[in-house]
Structure formats: structure tokens, C-alpha cells
Symmetry: C2
Subunit: 224 residues, 2 copies
């Protein structure tokens, strides 16, 4: 366990209970006492603390903007990046199967482990220690954040447009799925009260098809 | 605002900043200064505090069980029930449209407002006040909770079965949607590595069809 000193230094936190850190680093493939419960706890703490920081940092942001900013900060990809900065993959305790298949560099495992570490710091040092950790891990990312950075996708823009006008939200419906299992094309219709007919969109996933439909609806609204 | 005394009594919390409570009770249909930002904050606090309580109350629960318990406690229906206990609908500030259409008894509006009130107590009185509130609101519901109460649906049971065996998770795919707009039937296939062929399920929503498919897969696995 002595090499955990390096990790403690990176986290800027010294565990009273070294077993707790060990559990946080243990993937379910390696032992019965693994990190999934801690991950559950850490995930909820991260959600709360990031929400709290964003709420204060952006007093003029709307709820939808705060939600999107938070999503960008707590998504697996971001967590995996932070985990890599901490060299967390080096400390993972994995079962032999996961070890062979390179689990230590997989985004999902790195992200889950980081959440477990956050949960472990909370149990070991309390909420204040956990807040210090989050603020340290997210310092640069929070500083660099601005509302203009949020890329709004067409569905979001359409929703915000309708909400601002206090109109009903759009209804999306899959109208057809064609192609074979690995090459499906989705057709989706988007209906809003302002337009007489549903508008169609097509894409390689339901989400893409919905975005395509929303984009067309926005165009139609602009030319109205 | 004097009638808010009744609400304060029910919440067992006296606001220093009465405006904060007013904002928490204001639906976006009524004013520009509405409760959506507070709802964002309250939602994250609720998620964290309930996760914390469940983690401690159920030291032997697996992550999946904690997640399901939490979902049952923070879902809109539960929040709306709690809001009704508080008679929150009586204090809502709604726009005329929402007022006419009975917005004060709609689950979603009640649930969102309760989250906003939680966020407002947090800003007004700090985390301790917010913890006291959550513990008060959830006292009976947390006490009455047990692991055996979690109804596991087929998809969940299938996932847990595969995870326990360290196998890949099932893949669900929509294979057909038939019927007209208001009467659609979904066909979904569920594929797992252990079975040679994908198994079909049918239902009135994608979710129902997936559950039906998972149920058949479980049966096939039991008779293997």
C-alpha cells in the first residue's frame, strides 16, 4: 500500500482509513469488497457539489444552462480525463480478465473509480474534505467555464424557444426503423403546436434523427 | 405573505429571506423570477442526502439496490405525495393558464416546487437546515424501507444475473413499431452472449417491450 502515498499526494488528501481507499480502487472483477457502493455515494456528492458551484458561479444562468454545464463536468469522459491526470489507472485493483483486456485505461472504469474515491474521501474525512477535493480536481475546469461555451443542440434550442413562448414541448415519435441490425436508419417525426404538420428527421440513431427533425422545425419557425 | 407561516410551520423552518421562499413557490408561468434554478439546486441536494442516508441505513445493500431505493424516493410521484402532505399546491404561484388548467394539482409542478423549496432552505439556512428538512420529510418513508421491498423488474434481474456471472450486458434493439400514432406496438429484441438467438418481446412502449423480452430471456436461462 505504500505506493498509495503518490496518489494521496495527488489528491492532496491523507486517508485515516487506508482500507477505504483500497476498496475505492477495487473493481468488482477483483474482489467481493469492491467499489460500487462508494461509487454510488461519490456520484451523488459530485452531482450536488458541482450543482452548488455552478449555481453560485453563474447567477444569471437558466436552469437548462446549469444542467448542461453540469452534465459536461460530470460525464464519464470528463471524469476519465481527471482520473488520468491523477494516474488513477496505475492504482486500480482489477480482476485478471479486466487486467488483460486493458481495463485500467477504459473510460468507464476510470470514471467509476474516481467517483468511488470521492465517496471514500467523504466517508473518511467528511463533507469538507470532499469539497476540498472536488474544488481541487475541478479548479481549472470551473475557471475555464462560460455560458457561451455550451453548445446547444437543435433539440435543446427548440425546447428553449417553446418554453420561452410558454408553448407545449415538441413530441417526438419514431415512425420507421429500416436497415439491418448493424446499420439501422431511424425516422422520427417532431410535432409542435405551432406547425400544421409533423416534421420528419432521419439518422443513424433515434437521438440523431430527433436532432435532425428539431433542426428542420427551427428552420421552419425562422422563416415563418 | 403572512399565510406562508402555515407552510413554514409544516416545513419546521423559518426563512430569514422571505423572498427566497416566494421564488421557490413561483412557477415559470407566473413570473420571470421563477423557481427553476432553485429546483436544479434542490434536486442535486435531494439526490445526495438520500444517497447518504441509504448508504448508512443499508450497509449490506449492493449498489443496484441503493440506486433503486433512491429512485423510488426521489421520483416525481413520491415528491408530489410529499408536496401534498405539505399542502404545497395551496401556496403555488402560477400563471393564469396553469391556474385554469389545474397546475396546482399536477404531479410534475408539485414535485418541481418541492425541490425548489429544498434548494431555497439550503441557500437560506445552509446544509444543516436542509438536512433537517429532508430528514423530516422522509422520516416515515426511510423508516419503512427495506431491501425486500424493492420490486425488481425483469430487465434489472437479467442485468444483475449477468453482472454476477461477469458476462456482457444484454443488447436491446427495436425491431419494429406498428400501429398508428396513438396505438403503437413496439417489438424489441434482446440479445445475450449465453443464448444463440435474440429473443423477442412486444409491448405498448419500448420499455414494456424490453421488459417482456428480458422476462423471456430469464425463463430460457432458468430452463437451461
Amino acid at each position: 500500500m505504500s505506493e498509495h502515498h503518490t496518489l494521496s499526494a495527488k489528491l492532496d488528501y491523507q486517508f485515516s482509513d487506508a482500507d477505504l481507499l483500497k476498496t475505492a480502487l477495487t473493481h468488482r472483477s477483483a474482489a467481493d469488497k469492491h467499489n460500487e457502493r462508494l461509487e454510488f455515494l461519490g456520484d451523488s456528492l459530485l452531482g450536488y457539489l458541482i450543482a452548488d458551484r455552478l449555481f453560485r458561479q453563474f447567477p444569471d444562468a437558466r436552469e437548462g444552462q446549469l444542467t448542461r454545464l453540469r452534465a459536461s463536468l460530470v460525464k464519464g469522459e470528463t471524469l476519465a480525463d481527471i482520473a488520468r491526470d491523477l494516474n488513477l489507472g496505475h492504482f486500480l485493483i482489477l480482476g485478471s480478465g479486466e487486467l488483460k483486456s486493458g481495463g485500467w485505461r477504459r473510460d468507464s472504469i476510470l470514471a467509476d473509480t474516481l467517483e468511488a474515491v470521492i465517496g471514500a474521501v467523504y466517508l473518511d474525512g467528511g463533507l469538507n474534505a470532499c469539497e476540498d477535493l472536488i474544488d481541487k480536481l475541478y479548479q481549472t475546469r470551473l475557471k475555464g467555464l462560460s455560458l457561451s461555451h455550451i453548445d446547444k443542440d437543435p433539440k435543446t434550442r427548440l425546447q428553449e424557444y417553446l418554453q420561452a413562448k410558454k408553448l407545449q414541448l415538441p413530441q417526438y415519435k419514431i415512425t420507421a426503423i429500416t436497415g439491418d441490425d448493424h446499420n439501422q436508419i431511424f425516422n422520427v417525426s417532431c410535432r409542435i403546436a405551432e406547425l400544421p404538420k409533423a416534421v420528419q428527421g432521419e439518422g443513424r440513431s433515434r437521438r440523431h434523427a430527433e436532432q435532425a427533425a428539431a433542426k428542420r422545425v427551427l428552420k421552419l419557425l425562422q422563416t415563418k
